[in-house]
Symmetry: C2
Subunit: 194 residues, 2 copies
C-alpha cells in the first residue's frame, strides 16, 4: 500500500497552484517526470500524449494571448508551462509500440475521426498520470482548460495533427498560491453498486 506521506504528496495535500516562485525547473526533473509517467497504461499502448514545453519568453509571449485573461498571470509566473496535446497521428507509432499487432495502424486506426476520439480520450487519461508525475517530483501543477484551443493549435501545431487539451503551469508555489479547497462528492454519491 502507498504510505501516508506519499498519499499526502500526490492527493491529500496536493493543490492546484495559481502562482509560482521564480525557482527554475531543471530539464532533469522534467525527464524524471516522464520516466515515471510513461509507464501508465493506455489503450493498445497508443501513448498519444505530447508535452510541448514553453520555457523561453518568446514562446510564452506566443501562448499568453490565447489564454483567458484570468489565467494569464498564473502562466506568466510559472517557470515552465506545458501544452498537453493529443498527437492525432499516434497510430504511426503503433508498429513500434504494439509490435504483436502492427496492422493496428491501418486496420483499426485508418479513420481520422476514430483517431481523434481515441487519441483524445487516452491523452486525457495520460494527463491524469502527468499531474501525478509533476506532484511526484515535488512540484505543483496548475492545469487549465480556459484557453482558445483552436488558436493554440494553429499557433504551435500548424500541421493540423495535434490537438491541445490542457495548458499546465509547473513549478514551486509562489505567494498566496491556493484558493480555498473546494468540496468533494461523498463516497456513496460516486461509488454505486449495481
Amino acid at each position: 500500500m502507498l504510505d501516508g506521506a506519499a498519499q499526502d504528496l500526490l492527493f491529500r495535500e496536493a493543490r492546484t497552484a495559481n502562482s509560482f516562485s521564480s525557482e527554475p525547473v531543471a530539464d532533469e526533473v522534467l525527464q524524471a517526470i516522464y520516466e515515471l509517467i510513461k509507464w501508465g497504461p493506455t489503450s493498445m499502448n497508443q501513448q498519444p500524449l505530447r508535452v510541448f514545453l514553453v520555457k523561453s519568453q518568446e514562446a510564452r509571449d506566443r501562448l499568453l494571448p490565447y489564454l483567458e485573461e484570468f489565467n494569464r498571470p498564473k502562466t506568466e509566473s510559472a517557470p515552465v508551462v506545458a501544452i498537453l496535446a493529443a498527437d492525432l497521428d499516434f497510430h504511426e507509432e503503433l508498429p513500434k509500440l504494439f509490435p504483436h499487432f502492427p496492422q493496428a495502424k491501418d486496420v483499426v486506426f485508418a479513420d481520422p475521426e476514430l483517431r481523434e476520439w481515441s487519441g483524445s480520450q487516452n491523452a486525457w487519461l495520460q494527463i491524469g498520470y502527468f499531474i501525478m508525475g509533476v506532484r511526484a517530483a515535488g512540484l505543483c501543477a496548475g492545469p487549465m482548460v480556459g484557453f482558445d484551443a483552436e488558436g493554440v493549435n494553429k499557433e504551435f501545431f500548424g500541421d493540423g495533427k495535434h490537438k491541445a487539451l490542457v495548458v499546465c503551469n509547473i513549478g514551486k508555489p509562489g505567494e498566496n498560491p491556493w484558493y480555498p479547497r473546494l468540496p468533494r462528492l461523498e463516497y456513496d454519491e460516486v461509488f454505486i453498486e449495481v
Copy 2:
C-alpha cells in the same frame, strides 16, 4: 519527492493484470481508494466520474455479454469490476461543488453537448487518478475499452444520463497475470520544447 518504493508501486512495477485471484476486495478498501482520488483536480471542480461496482454474480452476468470475448475471462476472474462512467448531469451538483459561482450550472453548462464533451474529458482525467488509486491500495487494475458502450449504457443506465467509458477489473493478480511489457516512447519523442 515521491520515494522509490511508491514510484515502483504506482508506475514502474505496476502492471495491467489480465487474471485475478479469488481474494475479495473489502468495501473499506474501495472507500479508501475514493477518499484518496477524490482530491484529484477537475475543471471547475465538476467531478463527473461515477464508479458503478459490479460484485454480485447477477450483475456480472448482465455485464459479460457486452464485453469483447477476449476480455470476458479477465472480468470473470476479478473480484470487483468497475464500470467507469461520466455523469452527463454533473452540472446539477455545481451549486454545491463550485459554490462561488453557482450559476455555472445554467450559464456555462445548459447545453447537453457541451456537458457530454466536458464531462467525458474530465471523467477520463479522473480515470487516470482512479487507476493510480487502485494501485495505491496495493491492488491491480485492468482497464478495458473493448466493450459495447452503448449496450452497457442501456443495460445499466436506462436514464440516458450516464456514459460508460472504461470497464476496469480490480483485485490481486492471479496466475500468469501479465503480458510482456510493451515499449514506451522516448523522452524527446514526447516532451518537445517550443
